[in-house]
């Protein structure tokens, strides 16, 4: 199948890069018989071998039916971007505001609409999580500068 071939080619590339990096691991005077790069190199060779097996199998099998043309990538990327934005903005906005923003934005990207109800749920959710983690459980969360 085409997806198997893509996966196998990607992992073959990973195994080559990983082996190259494993070969570059500095040796230590404390090194044992295997050394810090020993098992990583073995893993790389194993992965390369398995990738080649999958490539061989993929070439021999017929193509799978054409996938659904409706791509979910924009929504997936949007959801991911919300998490990245949280990492970047939480230290500036503080936990309560940032997590409320995550709830509002994710609601939209998961197919909901941004309206007054969504805003109330986001603010309420932010307060709930702040109470749960920070107040009740005493777990540190990002604070504004």
């Amino acid at each position: 199948m085409r997806s198997d071939l893509a996966f196998a080619v990607a992992t073959l590339a990973v195994s080559i890069v990983y082996y190259w990096m494993a070969a570059g691991i500095q040796e230590s005077r404390l090194a044992d018989a295997i050394g810090p790069g020993g098992l990583p190199k073995t893993y790389a060779i194993l992965l390369a071998g398995l990738s080649l097996v999958l490539i061989a199998r993929s070439i021999g099998t017929p193509r799978s039916p054409t996938p659904d043309p409706r791509s979910p990538i924009p929504r997936v990327a949007g959801t991911l971007a919300i998490g990245i934005a949280y990492i970047l903005l939480a230290p500036w906005l503080g936990y309560l505001v940032a997590i409320a923003g995550v709830i509002l934005a994710t609601t939209y990207y998961q197919g909901g609409s941004v309206n007054r109800r969504a805003a109330i749920v986001a603010v309420g959710g932010g307060i709930f999580f702040w109470l749960l983690f920070v107040v009740m459980m005493g777990i540190q969360q990002p604070q504004a500068w």
Partner: protein, 491 residues
């Protein structure tokens, strides 16, 4: 009996279980973190009460991990990862209440069995743990990895590839033998490696969130489906065998240092499938696939205390925290504990009995709001899960970098889903990789590079023998099913 009613053991056990279920149900909050959060509050307590609170929260957390595993495909604890497979499948079929009932009942059965083993066999069985060497630890890790074939779905090759990728991830950080940095790219955040919980939260929770982004809303559970359902007599009979298997695995792994609930849950799942007459249901919502791992990880919550109590060796992070609780109160675990502080030991046993019974009641009460959550509109539920995951991951080490790592593994999980690559083998590789490598190399250092040491050590030889049996069984099953499919295709 005296311990139960004279020292506040009952309220301590109930409070500990409630806290544990809450902590275990929060993705990213492991049982050890749940217990560690309690530690400061135990300073002023009576030693017996303090130990009971901590041990009961361990029991509660092991069960609590299955709640998000079943409802939102996110294991609350490492040990609940195996429960995701059939638990979430049942939830998607509108059988969430039934799945949670089986999980709770099996957890109770496993917990009671584990307690019985703890009470009866602590001193004799602890001698096995004393005999563990790096060689045995390596073999234990290999045994854990041997179940990869059973969790690889339709493609053993892709499962093996995922496992090797997991092993590769486990090599990130400081080398366990020489202290050399590997694959850290100069980042101090990577020096201690990538915690398995980040990989699991990323692959399971974030990956699922990303996958759900492109999907329409799911069917809501009807009120009848959402009603919590404890298994009836017919189901009792059906899940009795997997529960027995889970309890046996939990006992076996719990007494071995380093074993823990995760390995036992996966082993129990694998063996339950092997011995089941309905193998084809596994992975598609089999009650047996929930009963076995849940019985196993709740058994471990008690049996993991055996080496800790009798030898002072913590076999898991959670028992290490409990060890801390003992030391805070001037109690030194070991053979002398049974002579010098028998009240603490009997109080602990009584507390664990109450904790397991309380778990049955509290688990029922906490489940209903959980089922209510499933029926919320999908966008809101997804948004709250995302917020929960981000908050939970940050709580591990107060690190935004770790949130980035979890998101990265979320992308990997999404891609693996799209390409139909199983990611449970990857989780096993990450969880067991460090243990396998560090003990493999230490064993070779101790034996001057002689690989026969793994066969000369009787514990190692037995464990490797078991691993071989599991691998051969998986291969036979794979080739048999492949041959069967080919025959069907040709006909």
């Amino acid at each position: 009996m005296v311990s139960l009613f004279t020292s506040g053991v009952v309220p301590a056990a109930v409070a500990g279980v409630a806290w544990g279920i809450l902590g275990g149900a929060l993705p990213g909050i492991s049982p050890s973190i749940t217990m560690a959060l309690l530690l400061p509050f135990t300073y002023g307590m009576d030693p017996t009460v303090a130990i009971v609170v901590l041990a009961s929260s361990y029991v509660g957390a092991e069960y609590g991990g299955s709640i998000p595993a079943i409802l939102i495909r996110t294991p609350g604890t490492n040990a609940a990862a195996a429960t995701v497979i059939d638990g979430y499948a049942m939830s998607q079929q509108g059988r969430a209440g039934e799945a949670l009932g089986i999980s709770l009942y099996s957890g109770f059965v496993g917990g009671m069995f584990g307690l019985m083993v703890l009470v009866l066999l602590t001193e004799p069985l602890s001698s096995v743990a004393l005999a563990f060497t790096p060689t045995s630890f390596f073999a234990l890790g290999v045994l854990g990895l041997s179940v990869i074939g059973s969790v690889s779905g339709d493609s053993l090759v892709k499962g093996l590839m995922a496992a090797v990728l997991g092993l590769m991830i486990s090599t990130i950080g400081t080398d366990p033998v020489t202290g050399v940095n590997r694959f850290t790219f100069g980042s101090p955040d990577l020096l201690s490696g990538i915690p398995p919980i980040l990989v699991m939260v990323g692959l399971f929770a974030v990956g699922e969130l990303l996958a759900q982004s492109g999907e329409p809303g799911w069917e809501k559970a009807t009120s009848a489906q959402a009603r919590i359902r404890f298994p009836g007599p017919a189901m009792w009979r059906r899940i009795a065998r997997p529960q027995a298997i889970g309890s046996a695995m939990g006992t076996f792994e719990g007494i071995m240092p380093g074993g823990g609930g995760t390995i036992s849950a996966f082993l129990a799942y694998n063996e339950a499938r092997r011995w089941s007459s309905r193998k084809e249901e596994f992975g598609h919502g089999s009650p047996e696939g929930i009963a076995a791992p849940e019985a196993a990880n709740n058994t471990v919550a008690c049996t993991a205390l055996i080496p800790m109590l009798s030898l002072g060796i913590p076999s898991s992070n959670s028992s290490a925290v409990l060890l801390g609780g003992f030391l805070i109160h001037g109690l030194i675990p070991g053979p002398m504990l049974f002579v010098k502080d028998p009240d603490v030991i009997s109080g602990l046993y009584a507390g664990l009995l109450v904790a397991n019974i309380a778990m049955l009641v509290l688990g029922y009460l906490i489940m209903m709001p959980c089922l209510w959550l499933v029926n919320r509109p999908k966008p809101y539920l997804m948004a709250f899960i995302y917020a929960f995951v981000l908050s939970g991951v940050y709580a591990i080490e107060a690190s935004l970098f770790q949130i980035g790592v979890a998101l990265g593994f979320g992308v990997i999980g999404y891609v693996m889903r799209s390409l139909k690559v199983p990611f449970l083998p990857m989780v096993l590789g990450v969880v067991l990789g460090f243990m396998v490598e560090s003990n493999y190399r230490r064993a070779l250092v101790l034996s001057s590079g002689d690989h026969m040491t793994f066969l000369r050590d009787p514990i190692s030889a037995v464990l490797l023998g078991f691993a071989l049996v599991v691998v051969v069984g998986s291969l036979v099953r794979t080739f048999t099913s492949t041959g069967h499919r080919d025959t069907e295709t040709q006909s």
